[in-house]
Assembly symmetry: C2
Homo-oligomer: 210 residues x 2
DNA sequence: GTCTATAACGTGATAGAC
DNA sequence: GTCTATCACGTTATAGAC
């Protein structure tokens, strides 16, 4: 038993409570529209404690932002670099994994995209996203498919854009989608579940389109 | 000659200058991060004039927001309801038109999606987006295609999501896309131009995927 | 209509008691 | 570590002269 922990901090430590609250509020409203008072209230603690633990709103934000990006790209990067799965398998894994992730955290993609736009270099450039994607097994398999004539030649970015777009876009545009289809959140999520099965089929068809 | 104008206001009237400036700043930074001083400076006028013409930051924002939504949905709604063009033609027209529109106004989609999320009912529900899309010729043609066995049966929303996603998503995610591909704005725009030709092909393939 | 000056308010951050 | 009270500052909005 007795699992060793690096930090004694459990989920109900004050620091963790503040971070959890910060995620909720930042994800929902973005940096500028968030007031430190909102976070304190959400965390059920005093406003002064927030500054005691994190010095400033911006420092707290940067921590949340970095953790969130890491989390998001880590998961995709792992799948992208699996050696022993086919390209098709990877597409399925990504569609499945991300849709579940986004159903559980629907506010994150729009949050990330909005805040990344504000400071593109601060995060995007630094993280070496370029290398992670362009040197991945995933990309090599894609280019191999082209060489073998199994895939219609296109710029790899089109492929990435379409896979990501089909998966992420509905969550980014959920208010409009829900509005058009008059969907409840449950109905919307069911539709997203359908896409787990459909996206791989569509991508496959797309890759062969002439 | 002598074109009659409803309002004498030309493009350099103070009111119009403020609105133009407001568009620039709101689109780039969103409501919360925008300071009325930024708008005044961008417009080259005094801060007090902004309140003289529009009463408050929020009132000015609502005007810009409404106009922008109208503009965006008006253009799609026209295409959606053309009686004498095929479904394929409509897809081409939308991909072409929107990509040009978004190249010229790359900040708008992320702006709209972010702000719509803040007040979903304020705008989405009111505008009858549901009716516009679901009762369109576009949709009827799609369902006719299913009936005739030319299109694999799926929920129409999947179709809308994919068409919109392929077209709009890259602009929403442009910082990441540019980061991954190490693209300049020019290179990015060229890639988007390629998509005008590719999206109709992909959508066509998608509609027949089994 | 347009400006300067300033009021009124909200928010991030800190001092200091416990 | 946690709280209450308060400061310090930036921002929206207005008053009033021109």
């Amino acid at each position: 038993m007795a699992v060793k922990k690096v930090k004694p901090a459990n989920d109900t430590s004050t620091e963790e409570k503040i971070k959890n609250a910060a995620r909720v509020v930042f994800f929902k409203k973005g940096f500028a529209a968030t007031r430190t008072r909102d976070i304190a209230e959400e965390a059920g603690i005093n406003l002064a404690l927030l500054n005691y633990y994190f010095r400033s709103k911006e420092k707290l934000f940067d921590i949340i932002m970095l953790e969130t990006i890491m989390n998001f790209f880590k998961s995709i990067s792992v799948v992208f670099n699996m050696e022993d799965t086919t390209l098709e398998n990877k597409i399925e894994t990504i569609a499945n994994g991300y849709i579940d992730l986004l159903k559980a955290n629907p506010d994150i993609p729009l949050f990330l995209l909005s805040e990344l736009k504000m400071q593109p270099d601060e995060f995007v450039a630094k993280m070496g996203v370029k290398e992670i994607v362009m040197k991945s097994v995933f990309l090599k398999q894609f280019q191999q498919g082209i060489k073998e004539g199994k895939i219609t030649p296109i710029h790899p970015l089109h492929f990435i854009i379409n896979l990501l777009g089909m998966t992420v876009f509905p969550f980014v545009a959920s208010p409009i989608i829900k509005g058009i289809g008059d969907l409840s959140t449950k109905q919307f999520n069911d539709l997203m579940d359908e896409r787990k099965r459909l996206i791989p089929k569509w991508i496959k068809a797309m890759l062969k389109a002439k």
